[in-house]
Symmetry: C2
Subunit: 168 residues, 2 copies
């Protein structure tokens, strides 16, 4: 079973966190919530509360088997902190799965990890994804090596399926 | 006196809208608030309410002498609508002033207007600005031709001053 680091901050898209989180736990994977600092963060619309167990500055990539980045405005808040961007870079260097949806790709753009990759994401960031050197695909889920990405909440079932397959 | 179109949606950064808006009106400029549809939009933190007087799809660039784009998550919401992006492109083609702060540059990135320009913006979008082909400058205000840009709320006084000079 995989130990999944969940990179999360306030204003995450509630369903994009909760539905995959429930599915991952049901499949016996372990989730560890990582943020800028320990404490409670809250979803953007439904106001779901999530406990950040560890500050991203207190962990290393080797602690986790996969990374999950929910969407909403959480990725934009995270990427204004160097320690979150550095952790994503460090984790990507391991080649282990990175699962991201909606605005999640923003963190990978700031970490300069999208050159030559095939990814998808929310409409507002399509140009940013292309400008970062990636090929944008308008699909419910895009798998490219260790990257699994989806566009928005309607894609969650496909995102969960592809993620669980990748974590096997 | 200039007629300024204010491109605004929910979750705008309250002070980045309100302080320049007050200063522009005090200098006898006229503000017309443009959004995806007419109605009330609300700021992200202080919850300031702003009345959107016109849908961006119902106006043309020639109606305005300048464009003002406050920050927060308003620009990200706006750029997921083609009509907002198209209007910004159309307005930019006139060469008239575009005043933007914080996340405001996101709209210009999606409209593909930053190639070869010198601009500034909020920390989280620095990589997006560079990837869009612009030169990012870490200054309280950057003036490049018809573009005036600033980084965050502390820059507002410099942003107002440069904007008012440009509108003379």
């Amino acid at each position: 079973m995989a130990k999944i680091g969940v990179l999360i901050e306030n204003m995450f898209e509630d369903s994009e966190y909760e539905k995959p989180a429930v599915a991952f736990k049901k499949a016996n994977h372990e989730l560890v919530h990582l943020g800028i600092k320990k404490g409670i963060v809250q979803g953007e619309k439904a106001g779901i509360k999530v406990k950040v167990e560890k500050a991203v500055s207190d962990v290393v990539a080797d602690d986790f088997d996969a990374l999950f980045i929910p969407g909403g405005y959480s990725p934009d808040l995270l990427r204004s902190h160097d320690e979150a961007v550095d952790f994503v870079k460090q984790f990507a260097a391991t080649g282990k799965p990175i699962l991201f949806i909606c605005h999640g790709a923003q963190l990978l753009i700031t970490a300069d990890l999208l050159k030559g990759r095939r990814v998808t994401g929310w409409k507002s960031i399509i140009q940013d994804i292309k400008n970062a050197g990636a090929e944008y695909l308008d699909q419910e889920v895009v798998e490219d090596g260790n990257f699994i990405s989806s566009r928005y909440p309607a894609d969650i079932p496909a995102f969960i399926k592809a993620s669980l397959d990748k974590l096997k």
